[in-house]
């Protein structure tokens, strides 16, 4: 296996696990808040769940970018590509936006979701407002994903 391919795989791995860490921490924060609210009122599970799950998207974006790299390299079957060291580095750097934007936005989205959950506990009718607030944070994960996808698309093997 060439160094180029190794670097490209490192990129895919970074996209998945760095963004995944962001989501894991974010959902962890939101999940604690959700459980806290549900000790008072278990019937709120349904309306709290979307807020608890929203910070999970960063991990999905990371995974998705990793998968696009795997597709690009042909690792799922067929002919495995042989990128040069330059190309491998290019792919790795292309994975950075989704990885790091996902890491930070995931954590902060989790915090916004947690306070949203506290809000829903008191104002169950206003559940979409904290969702929109959380989506404001997610924008930057989405833009990170977008950059990664466009960069990957631009790299010719």
């Amino acid at each position: 296996m060439s160094l180029g391919l190794t670097l490209a795989i490192l990129g895919a791995a970074l996209a998945v696990f760095v963004a995944g860490i962001g989501s894991a921490i974010g959902i962890g924060i939101a999940g604690q808040a959700a459980s806290g609210v549900m000790t008072e009122d278990p019937s709120k599970f349904g309306i709290i769940l979307p807020l608890g799950a929203l910070a999970g998207t960063q991990g999905i974006y990371g995974f998705l970018s990793g998968f696009l790299v795997i597709l690009k390299l042909g690792l799922l079957g067929g002919q495995v590509a042989e990128p040069t060291v330059q190309q491998g580095l290019q792919i790795m750097f292309a994975c950075f936006p989704v990885a790091f934007a996902g890491l930070v936005s995931g954590i902060h989205q989790g915090k916004v979701c947690a306070s949203g959950i506290y809000m829903v506990a008191k104002q169950p009718k206003d559940m979409t407002k904290p969702l929109v607030m959380a989506a404001l944070v997610e924008t930057y994960a989405v833009l990170g994903l977008l950059a990664t996808v466009l960069l990957l698309n631009g790299i010719k093997l």
């Binding site: 929203l54 999905i60 974006y61 989506a135 997610e138 996808v149 466009l150 698309n153």
Partner: protein, 639 residues
């Protein structure tokens, strides 16, 4: 199409007819009552009765919640069962149901049961206390001591027992083991009175816990032993248990009253609401005065019904005075097809009276955006079918129904855009696919940004309309019109590099913005603050770029669906159980992707409306129309 006009109503009626009239308004459900704006009139109030209803409601609710259902339904079936229907005219009849008796009976049974549970706890405690002594083969009456000797039952730590035994061996005392547990031993000690002090000095070194059976002595009939007492307790416990199950049977027997109680609950709830409505009236000695709102479209109907109801009621319908206009409730009025999208508008907060209702403008964009964000035909089909199924089965009303219809639309949108830009459950229908964002995301990005540009231009146009209506007509046309001229011509000029007329149009637009943005009379101040206004182009730029999220979200659902399918493919290869695992992965994976994708697609499409679209023109702050009507928790009233 817009905000529906409302009319102010003022009603004068004899005080005696006030309650009946409010009750009638509840049945009509088309008029909102406001607190009367005249402070000199005494406001009606009946707090005692309201509190009374409140207590009954709480008690009935408790009975309903704890009674078992006569035909128990589980999860999904329960969700899909519509509320039972009752004719509104039955309301008074239901109050004669004798619910007070049922509730009191139930509460009595409940109190008895609670007492029995208490008794059982007490019995358990006694059993725990006595059971280590069950091995005592002597009647309790014989344990009270002798003429010359003292007798003690004690609890001592297991490790201390051998030492204690050894020390007592030197004394005229006997110690015998009754029973031993893990850490504790129970002992019977007999010693001579004359050596009381010496022996008890030894006791103090071993931390004995003396057990007194004194309380049991008066209860004895003859020669019962501890084991007899225990048997007696066991019997008592069994009897209490039997009584509890009998009580529970009796309580379950009251379950036939459950559904009538549900109806009664709702009737009482409405009685309470009625009193709340009555308390809004202003009162003189003999007359009551109510004020409120009615949708203009239903004003004549209301007048007609009121005159039918009673000849003693005077109803005045009029246009709101200018100072009342801001207080008017807001009713969104859109064609049936667009109505479900009012959900989105209401989520943000209703528009101010007299401003623009954005529903019809956001509807097509929201429809398309969710389709682009998910772009999954199969998921769309699932969404549409499920929401239709729910509407047919559970017959939801009001907001829930509109939301379900919205989901139905979004499902259709996904079937369209899933076919064109994505696939069905991850499988593209090749001949119908217009563009494949995974293979080449650029056209999809351009499409997203183009839609975004159109919506941003629409919001600019709506802000022009708003400003124009407000009176600053020249500024509205020059500045907002300037942007509408500048941005598209600039865009096309850069794209096409010709014709020069576009450049000229852009310059005209720019001139409008520069010279009319500021209202200053000083020509220099006006010019430079106008130049600064041009800087606003960045907001148009960033708003349009924000729509690029449509591509990212659209990609994510498609790719995850593909991943699910490749996992299924791998699982399919396993021998024997492969197809089971495959089907499980297929169902679970796509369901997960649908849920996450829909959440993301919905929230982000909503955000695009709220932040990028509403930002330029929308004025929130309308109060929702809240007519006095029949409310329901457990049942549904029909005419």
């Amino acid at each position: 199409m817009a905000i529906a006009p409302v009319k102010r109503i003022e009603v004068l009626l004899p005080k005696t007819e006030l309650e009946g009239f409010v009750s009638y308004l509840q049945e009509l459900g088309i008029a909102q009552l406001d607190p009367l704006p005249y402070e000199e009139l005494q406001l009606a109030s009946s707090p005692a009765e309201v509190a009374d209803y409140e207590r009954w409601l709480a008690r009935i609710n408790h009975v309903i919640q704890s009674l078992p259902e006569t035909e128990p339904k589980k999860g999904l079936e329960k969700l899909l069962t519509p509320k039972p229907k009752y004719s509104a005219s039955l309301r008074k009849v239901l109050l004669d149901y004798g619910y007070e008796r049922v509730v009191e009976d139930y509460e009595e049974l409940e109190a008895k049961r609670a007492q029995l549970f208490q008794n059982i706890k007490q019995i358990e405690r006694e059993k725990e206390f006595l059971s280590p002594l069950a091995a005592l083969k002597v009647p309790l009456s014989g344990l009270s001591g002798f003429d010359r000797c003292l007798l003690k039952i004690a609890e001592v730590k297991a490790e201390a027992f051998p030492g204690l035994k050894e020390q007592l061996a030197d004394q005229p005392a006997s110690i015998s083991l009754i029973s031993a547990e893990k850490n504790l031993t129970y002992v019977l000690i007999i010693y001579h009175q004359s050596l009381k002090e010496e022996v008890e000095a030894i006791f103090s070194g071993y931390k004995l816990n003396f057990i007194s059976l004194e309380p049991y002595l008066p209860r004895l009939k003859g020669d019962e032993k501890v084991s007899d007492l225990l048997a007696g307790l066991e019997q008592q416990k069994a009897q209490a248990g039997a009584e509890i199950s009998q009580l529970e049977k009796d309580m379950a027997g009251l379950a036939v009253h459950r559904s009538p109680l549900m109806a009664v609950y709702d009737v009482l709830l409405n009685e309470q609401q009625k009193l709340a409505g009555v308390s809004l009236a202003g009162l003189t000695e003999k007359t009551a005065w109510l004020a409120g709102w009615v949708p203009a479209a239903q004003a004549d109907y209301l007048a007609q019904r009121v005159s039918q109801f009673s000849p003693n009621i005077y109803l005045n319908l009029r246009e709101p005075k200018p100072e009342e206009r801001d207080e008017a409730p807001v009713i969104l009025d859109n064609p049936q097809l667009i109505k479900p999208f009012e959900v989105i508008t209401s989520l943000y907060g209703l528009p101010r009276p007299g401003s623009i209702d954005p529903t019809i403008y956001l509807a097509p964009f929201f429809f398309v955006f969710v389709g682009l964000c998910l772009s999954e035909g199969g998921y769309g089909l699932v969404m549409s079918l499920l929401s239709l199924f729910y509407i047919k089965k559970a017959e939801p009303k009001g907001g829930t129904r509109q939301f379900m219809l919205l989901l139905f639309y979004l499902g259709i949108s996904n079937m369209i855009f899933g076919t064109l830009f994505g696939g069905w459950f991850g499988f593209p229908i090749k001949p119908l696919v217009l563009m494949d964002p995974i293979a080449d995301p650029i056209p999809y990005l351009i499409l997203s940004l183009a839609l975004g540009f159109i919506q941003v231009m629409l919001s600019t146009f709506l802000s022009l309309v708003r400003d124009f209506k407000k009176g600053n007509k020249v500024t509205a046309i020059a500045v907002k019109g300037g942007w509408l001229l500048l941005l598209p011509s600039l865009l096309f000029y850069f794209l096409l590099k010709q014709p020069p007329i576009l450049g000229i149009l852009a310059l005209i637009g720019t001139a409008g913005i520069v010279f009319f943005s500021s209202s200053s009379r000083n020509i220099f101040a006006r010019f430079f603050s106008g130049l600064y206004a041009l800087y606003g182009i960045t907001s148009y730029f960033s708003d349009t770029l924000s729509y690029s999220r449509l591509l990212a979200l659209g990609l994510s659902t498609g790719v995850i669906a593909m991943v699910v399918n490749s996992l299924v493919q791998i699982a399919w290869g396993f021998p024997i159980v492969g197809w089971i695992i495959g089907i499980l992965i297929f169902a679970g994976g796509h369901l997960f992707n649908l849920a996450i994708g829909l959440l993301g697609g919905f929230v982000h499409s909503m955000r695009l409306q709220f932040v990028e679209f509403f930002g330029r023109f929308y004025e929130a702050g309308g109060k929702p129309f809240q007519p006095v009507k029949l409310v329901n928790k457990y049942i549904e009233f029909i005419r």
